[in-house]
């Protein structure tokens, strides 16, 4: 599918999808403020995840290989793609388990958190995904400089997300009395954000590696590492697409 599109339409598609995602995120926030329907929030999150998985993570590429020579780079890339997706499926069971834990312990309540900060870090992560997609697209079209700039922006935004969660949100929550040992809400909040932050952290390491090697022109021909880092980064975003409503939007806030 991507093979038939030129650079500008691919970039345009990235922008369009980002606008959709931004609107949906706003919609989520609005629903949470007004009529608090959990099913709608779930559906919106599923739509967002599907958009990211299809247009940013290019899940359809799993089916795209037409090469027959098993020793070719393209065939191996197909195998690597499959391996990465299998890994992501496996990993998503961790996050699924955390969601089960959250639903079981908290039900239709949620920790009392700073709503603006939550929306802020969510926006930062979403924007970082957009730049990641832009960087990957540019690299595929041979624009190394554009790739480096956009990856750097992604990295900075990702770092911003990490700082926002670990050094701002955690401190604010602890100051309000929500600590890991304060009860199920605290336990669920720190465990879920902590596990996600760990994945963001590893994603940042991958981005750094890809950026440094990209600067030396390593990916001008063999571009799969760029794609892999991008797919992983988007996956971390997809996880947050579910965690954000689960922690910030669903149900009634528990006062600490």
């Amino acid at each position: 599918m991507t093979h038939t599109q030129d650079k500008n339409s691919m970039l345009g598609q990235g922008i369009l999808i980002f606008i959709y995602l931004a609107i949906l995120t706003g919609l989520e926030f609005f629903i949470a403020l007004t009529f608090r329907s959990v099913p709608i929030l779930v559906v919106v999150a599923l739509i967002k995840a599907a958009l990211v998985a299809y247009y940013y993570m290019h899940v359809y590429q799993l089916n795209a290989d037409t090469v027959e020579d098993e020793n070719s780079y393209e065939y191996k890339t197909g195998t690597n793609r499959l391996g990465l997706w299998l890994f992501l499926i496996s990993d998503s069971f961790v996050f699924g388990g955390l969601m089960v834990m959250r639903v079981n312990l908290l039900g239709l309540t949620r920790p009392n958190l700073n709503q603006l900060l939550g929306l802020g870090v969510t926006a930062v992560l979403l924007i970082s995904s957009f730049f990641m997609n832009r960087g990957e697209t540019l690299m595929k079209n041979g624009d190394r400089k554009g790739f480096l700039t956009n990856t750097l922006i992604t990295f900075v935004l990702g770092l911003g997300f990490l700082v926002g969660v670990i050094f701002v949100e955690w401190r604010l929550a602890a100051a309000e009395g929500l600590t890991p040992s304060s009860g199920p809400a605290g336990a669920a909040f720190y465990m879920m954000t902590g596990m996600h932050a760990f994945h963001v952290f590893t994603g940042l390491i991958l981005l750094a590696i890809v950026w440094l090697n990209g600067r030396r022109g390593l990916y001008d021909e063999k571009q799969y590492p760029v794609e892999a880092a991008a797919v992983y980064w988007h996956f971390v975003d997809v996880v947050w697409i579910f965690f954000y409503p689960a922690l910030y939007l669903i149900g009634a806030a528990l006062l600490a």
């Binding site: 098993e70 195998t79 299998l86 069971f93 955390l98 890991p180 040992s181 720190y190 590696i209």
Partner: protein, 713 residues
């Protein structure tokens, strides 16, 4: 003579290392606790670590596994001191009965695992890639035995590494079983008394630790055994040169080594008394050993996840030409089904143990009722893996049975498609049955009936396998060399395990049966029938492929005829006393459980019916131990001195037997193409595979046709 020298050096250094380690540990313990504790944990931990490391140093020198172990020890110490330093800055307590405090031990152990993989060198290629350096596609192994003690990317070497590690763990777990089986031979405490002290535990605590570790060490050894067979056999059956991701394959194996070390450390560091299930709140209160146990299982879990990821990718991407879905060897279908479970569900046991670990470290009240947590939630997360896990154990075993039966019956596998699909069916239904372990747990009552239905449903695809096996045997021309004996034994024992399952599935009867020796007998039947017997069958069957020599038929048969009756006596006895009220996991039992009449007096002990029953079980246990010992001697003797195996030893249609043994370094020098059905025994002139002498000259349109057909499946 020259060949045995490294082993002798290793054993010598083992003793010296153990003694030196014990001395160091004793000294450190004296410094910290001001007491000279000869049976304490610290001395034993140092002795264990130094002894193992020194053994491999003597055997192999400072490289490969030795370097990994040294790095693991150093990493643990550095990680531990790092946290201790932070605690010093915060003014918290620094040292305890286990030298380090619990957070320091956990962090140290984690750092130890990471150090191990760096030390052994299995991540060095990835590190080079991260720095933008290129590495050769394949590293050539040195010939000889030494390649098995260092990092190799060859799936055959890794498969053997897995298998050997699995056998080592089976011996350790079996040894534990014999120790506590001895204690159980008579009622009351004989040697594991409350006055007995070892590793900071008294007798009953040691019993609990050994019993718990027997469970988990056996589980890990089975996971490694499964990986071993899959690693060795699957690429050969597919005609692939190697697994899809050789480096990750090696990485997955080498994770299992520090995991095994951690599991052993859990015994030494205070043990734990929770059983392998580690239910909180008991596990939240257990000694620090449980943290080592959690981390060991977590690491072994990752090994299993990455290994199965590799298997799936290999099967999907690296099949020989013409190997369509319905022409896959049946063992490959079983491997796929197993790998789907291991890839996904394993994360949940890791997560559940992680949550308990954090509950202990940070006071996070996931499962702490006093903090609003839910102890039952753990059981749901835990069994979501741990029930499907039994299908991870048995599906490859059932695959081996289905794979070997046609060879020794000289008849096609009856209903190939149905057998293949039943594996997937078991795997998928297996995801929906976990709560049948919790019928008495106090979970929501309305969950019990749906889980009863789903559990009983598993009987259907399992039944399809049994009926198909019987139909395969019917009207065949049956031969019974050792591998076939184990296949038949596996079917019989698994049948007993399967038939004792439905009473546990129907809720009301399960309320009587759960947590008794009936369950113990039932699951030993399923695991022995579903894994242990087929595993031995596979070892006897593929041993000649790996070594070029055969194992002794005579001693193989002795092994079988000693193990099978003993095992049947063992499990029947377990189920009998379980029904009468013998609970699981108890160090001592009511002497009047089967009546208070004294049958006879022996060794200064009144033998009542229950004592007699348990003594018989203990003797049966020892006989199984002896039979496995015979197997080990046979195995090691045959590596060098076994009868030379030439050609197609079992007269199989499978591709790996069409080329000489042992297998060449890169598998098939000439690639093959699948031209027929895999199990068409008795069809004159048919062939499963055909070797393509010059692959470059294949007509291009044929090639793409073959490939597109392959892709469709």
């Amino acid at each position: 003579m020259r060949k045995t020298q490294p082993v002798a050096t290793g054993l010598l250094l083992l003793i010296i290392g153990g003694a030196v380690g014990y001395g160091i540990g004793l000294g450190i313990d004296l410094l910290v606790t001001q007491t000279l504790n000869f049976s304490g944990s610290v001395a034993s931990a140092f002795a264990l670590l130094l002894a193992v490391t020194a053994f491999f140093f003597g055997l192999f020198g400072y490289r490969g596994i030795t370097r990994g172990l040294v790095w693991q020890v150093l990493g643990t110490l550095i990680g531990g001191f790092f946290i201790t330093g932070i605690r010093a800055l915060k003014g918290l307590s620094l040292f305890g009965a286990f030298f380090f405090t619990e957070p320091a031990l956990v962090f140290g152990a984690l750092a130890g695992v990471i150090s191990f993989v760096f030390g052994v060198g299995v991540v060095s290629d990835w590190m080079k890639w991260a720095r933008g350096l290129d590495t050769p596609e394949h590293h050539e192994d040195v010939p000889g035995w030494e390649k098995y003690f260092g990092v190799s990317l060859d799936h055959k070497v890794i498969g053997i590494q897995y298998t050997v590690t699995s056998l080592v763990l089976i011996s350790v777990g079996g040894l534990f079983a014999l120790i506590f089986r001895t204690e159980l031979a008579e009622s009351q405490l004989q040697f594991l008394k409350t006055t007995f002290h070892l590793f900071n535990q008294n007798g009953p605590q040691i019993y609990n630790s050994l019993m718990s570790l027997h469970g988990m060490i056996m589980i890990v050894s089975i996971l490694l055994g499964v990986s071993g067979i899959m690693n060795y056999v699957v690429p050969l059956l597919l005609g692939a040169r190697d697994m899809a991701f050789p480096r990750m394959n090696a990485f997955a194996y080498w994770l299992a080594v520090p995991a095994s070390v951690l599991l052993l450390m859990s015994l030494v560091l205070g043990g734990f008394d929770t059983g392998w299930t580690g239910y909180p709140p008991l596990s939240a209160r257990a000694p620090v050993g449980i943290q080592m146990f959690f981390l060991g299982v977590f690491t072994a879990g990752w090994s299993s996840i990455l290994g199965s990821l590799n298997v799936i990718a290999t099967v999907l991407r690296m099949r020989a030409r013409g190997m369509t879905a319905m022409r896959l060897p049946i063992f490959v279908w079983a491997s796929i089904a197993t790998s789907i479970i291991a890839l996904t569900a394993t994360q949940l046991i890791g997560l559940s143990f992680q949550l308990v670990s954090f509950q202990r470290l940070l006071g996070m009240g996931f499962f702490d009722a006093a903090k609003g947590g839910n102890p039952i939630l753990f059981q749901h997360l835990f069994w979501f893996y741990s029930h499907p896990a039994v299908y991870v154990f048995v599906l490859p075993g059932l695959g081996v049975i289905s794979e070997l039966l046609p060879v020794f019956v000289r008849k096609p596998l009856f209903g190939y498609r149905w057998v293949a699909m039943s594996s997937l069916g078991i795997a998928l239904v297996g995801f929906l049955v976990w709560a049948h372990h919790m019928f008495a747990s106090g979970m929501n009552e309305y969950l019990r009936v749906p889980f009863m239905y789903s559990t009983l449903l598993v009987a259907v695809p399992t039944g399809v396998k049994f009926f198909s096996w019987v139909a395969t045997l019917w009207g065949g021309k049956i031969q019974t060399p050792t591998p076939m004996l184990f296949v038949l034994g596996g079917i019989l024992v698994f049948l007993l395990g399967g038939l004792t399952g439905p009473p546990n599935a129907t809720v009301s009867t399960d309320l009587h049966l759960t947590d008794t020796y009936f369950i113990v007998g039932h699951f030993h039947d399923t695991i022995f029938g579903g894994f242990v017997f087929p595993f031995f069958a596979a070892l006897y069957y593929w041993f000649p492929k790996a070594t070029g020599r055969r194992m002794s038929e005579l001693w193989g048969k002795v092994h079988f005829w000693l193990m099978t009756p003993s095992f049947l006596v063992l499990t029947f006895g377990m189920m009998r006393i379980g029904l009468l009220g013998m609970r699981r996991r108890i160090v001592d039992y009511d002497p009047n459980l089967m009546g208070d009449q004294v049958l006879f007096r022996l060794f200064n002990h009144d033998f009542r019916a229950i004592d007699l029953n348990h003594s018989i079980l203990t003797i049966a246990g020892y006989l199984i131990g002896i039979s496995v010992l015979i197997f080990f001697i046979n195995l090691f003797y045959s590596i060098k001195h076994g009868e030379k195996a030439e050609g197609n030893l079992w007269n199989s249609r499978s591709p790996e037997w069409q080329v000489p043994s042992p297998m060449a370094a890169h598998n098939y020098e000439v690639p093959f193409e699948v031209v027929g059905e895999p199990y068409d025994y008795g069809l004159p002139g048919s062939k499963y595979v055909q070797f393509v002498s010059q692959p470059e000259h294949i007509n291009h349109s044929e090639e793409s046709a073959a490939h597109s057909e392959k892709k469709r499946h």
